[in-house]
Symmetry: C3
Subunit: 364 residues, 3 copies
């Protein structure tokens, strides 16, 4: 642990780690002080995200950017999974679906767009491996088809036959999980040479040993989970204090803070001109949520939920996922990035966020 | 004919050719034994498809893959055309449209996807000429625009003005046929050098002489037509015995068996690393149905139909054609294929098939 | 001015300039003779467009194709802006929106398609800089998202809350203008080296001095504005005489004649194998209307309009803009053009035009 200790002494941002026990204690003492808890949990997430980013880069230095990105995406999505499982047990399907959809859109548009912008402000033009971007956007395309098709083909039938929707949701969920598994087999096993980074970058400081890095990843992930839960519980009430609509909070604020850890890693990698890692985290995370987390939640709802959950999202959300997926396909087609590409993606995200922010509450 | 005879002696699969007269005789004797006729016709189609594939490859060896693919696509679509003409004469426009749309989707997603998968399981990475894929997907895009626009722009007007829809359908049909003709002029005449195969492959056995190959093509096509008709007549009742919905049968089963001959050629070419021929057959066939067969049926309906047929498809079908077209555009953009690309396309097809299979009959 | 005078002596088409004072006089004398005024103004626009094209090419010879294209697009759109401002002051929002949407679609499909066709009939294969096409189509994509999202997310809410739509329209307008400004910063300042022409072409005749060219541009633009106004006033009545529907006139005829000046420049550049200039004019003009003119009109409506205008277009128009944008993205992806690419784009435009032409008036 001396590595981690060293890191904490050198990086003053990490001193904020003291906020982690503070916010947990505060929540025990005064669980209904939502606005202070909201602010405290925000402060506590920052150093955890930083630590997670360092640990991930150490692992990626040993395993390559593709595996590193996958690992980071998976650990980053653990938070979303834990939150969604809690909501699933309580039968709050609307919250589950909003957090899933919000995470897909935030990863695809905000996380990738901001990585391109931050990287592009430092480096004139950045190249990255199109192969990985293509794989992940193709998986997102498949997931989007699965979301569109029930309502498009069933049309009026969806109202008439909830049984049809349940059977179809289970079938689609199995298909998506199989596709995700085959995608891993493809990118990590049979064709891994296609997914190498476009350029090797020398590490500026010696990475941690693998054991230390993995232990840190695990430990910090647990702490992120604890703090995130406090955040999610407090954000709804705190947000209303600040005048935000529920749709905006569920879709934008929760998704952005839930992705804080992945953001720290992706942004730092982009600044270091390791855009392959950023793309792997952003699109890999989005694809994992769409093809693994969401279908797994549907299947798990038969075990732990009060009633089964289906895979049908409401139309506005489907349109936002289509827009995010199309943006990613168009933008990553060239395998080349500049600051303006990042601006474009952030603008698309801003349009969605602004619409949700202004949407009158009764029409949500 | 000694070439064909030689082939039959060497390839035991072709011994199934004996089923062709059997099924034709069986249909004369007992035309209402639908389930046995269904199984017999399935057995009879297999050797015919194999023979057709051999003959096509012999022709393609003389003419190049682009012309070979076009020839194969055209002969393969003769079956669809014959079936559709019969239905058109009887005024069964729903059946005509379902078979046309099902064939477009099956060619684009299943035929191409399975070619990529089968080729990719044998060859690590396969390259093909992007030019031809781009041409065919652009033509599909044009046809899709023609299918979307009447309902999108006319909106409520389509209900109010059947006359508008008729005039528009005739106009669109003429436009699509002209575009298809110009596409042939472009790819076979003015810019044919852009459509050469990416790599020349040595033939493993000497091709048949052109005359023999063409005569075989013609003869086998007629037999496929005869057997297909028995199949189509029996499939509906047989399928219900097996518990399939009419939408599933019309859209999936008929399209797959109707495309058996093209499949044999395309799959065999993919295994031999001649992916240009596979792409030519799959996308060329889809484009031909969308831009030539369907519009020709609309125009012919004024001559042979009881009433004129329009070009408007119901919304669920339009969405499926859009999805198939988008998948083809995204997937063929790189001009490079692996087994996973095939899996992705088949997954999209599976999603459509599963939805139609589960769809409750009364909402179709 | 001797340069311009020389040009006029050499090019007999320019002798038609005499029609400019004729049509202005005719309008003063007999303002209700719509059909003659319509034909006179058509004749007067032709030489003005030719002169504008020569002046633009002289400027582009000094500044490079990217700046030249932008300049041409801006001056070309001045006409649209002047017409729209007049209609805005009178509160005719339907006319404003139709002319804006019609101009986007005409520039993207007709202007670019005809440039590809005319260039391709003279040159076998033409290459152009994909970078500029990608930038402009990405901007169009962003604008399309801004047009889709209000109705998609708001769904029923848009009817219920006009206030929501107004706030959202202002927000989106500001976003789009900012994105357009950043796009100019990107293409003309920080990354201008990415937007160079793919090949340098020798000028066949010596360009005019910059001062003469700029003065001609300014003077001719004013005259185009005057003649266009007469044209727009007379076209509606004249078109009905020829049996055209209002939707067809507003969307197709006005947009095509309003773009006459840009067409002359773009077509002439395509024939001279300077396709970068053509692409810059066509897509640059479409992007400028979508991201600058339309949002600016929304913001200006708060100052000069009787009531504020929103950014919501009716569904059929949104579909047409989506189709135009998707066509441009698919077609410009390769950075290579032939005559058939032009045919395809013109066919898409023809499908839209034919639908509007046949649409029964009461369903518009």
């Amino acid at each position: 642990m001396s590595y981690v200790w060293n890191e904490i002494r050198q990086n003053r941002l990490l001193w904020l780690l003291v906020m982690v026990p503070v916010v947990i204690a505060a929540q025990k003492i005064s669980p209904s002080a939502h606005t202070p808890l909201f602010l405290l949990s925000l402060l506590a997430v920052i150093p955890l995200a930083t630590l997670l980013s360092n640990a991930t880069e150490s692992v990626a230095a040993k395993t390559g950017d593709a595996v590193g990105g996958l690992l980071n995406a998976t650990l980053g999505n653990l938070t979303e999974l834990i939150i969604a499982l809690t909501a699933l047990r309580l039968g709050q399907f609307t919250l589950v679906k909003a957090s899933v959809a919000g995470a897909i859109v935030a990863n695809t548009l905000f996380l990738l767009g901001a990585s391109f912008l931050l990287g592009g402000l430092k480096h004139h033009v950045q190249d990255y491996n199109r192969g990985n971007a293509r794989l992940q956007t193709s998986l997102l395309f498949l997931a989007t088809v699965a979301l569109i098709i029930p309502s498009a083909v069933g049309s009026a039938g969806s109202e008439a036959a909830p049984e049809f929707l349940q059977q179809l949701s289970v079938g689609l969920s199995v298909l998506l999980i199989v596709a995700y598994g085959l995608g891993l087999l493809f990118s990590l096993r049979t064709h891994r040479e296609l997914f190498g980074a476009t350029e090797e970058v020398a590490e500026e400081h010696a990475p941690w040993p693998l054991k230390v890095a993995l232990a840190t990843l695990a430990g910090v992930t647990v702490m992120v989970g604890l703090v995130s839960e406090i955040f999610v519980e407090s954000v709804q009430v705190a947000a209303e204090t600040f005048g935000m609509t529920p749709a905006f909070v569920g879709f934008i604020v929760v998704a952005l803070v839930g992705g804080a850890a992945e953001m720290a890693s992706a942004f730092s990698a982009a600044r270091k001109n390791r855009l392959d890692l950023s793309v792997g985290i952003a699109l890999g995370s989005a694809a994992q949520i769409a093809l693994f987390v969401a279908p797994a939640l549907v299947l798990l709802s038969y075990v732990i939920g009060p009633t089964p959950m289906d895979l049908q999202f409401w139309p506005g959300v489907v349109v936002m996922i289509i827009i995010a997926m199309m943006t990613a396909i168009i933008v990553t087609n060239s395998g080349r990035s500049t600051w303006f590409v990042g601006v474009l993606m952030l603008m698309v995200y801003l349009i969605l966020a602004m619409t949700l922010y202004l949407l009158p509450p009764h029409s949500q």
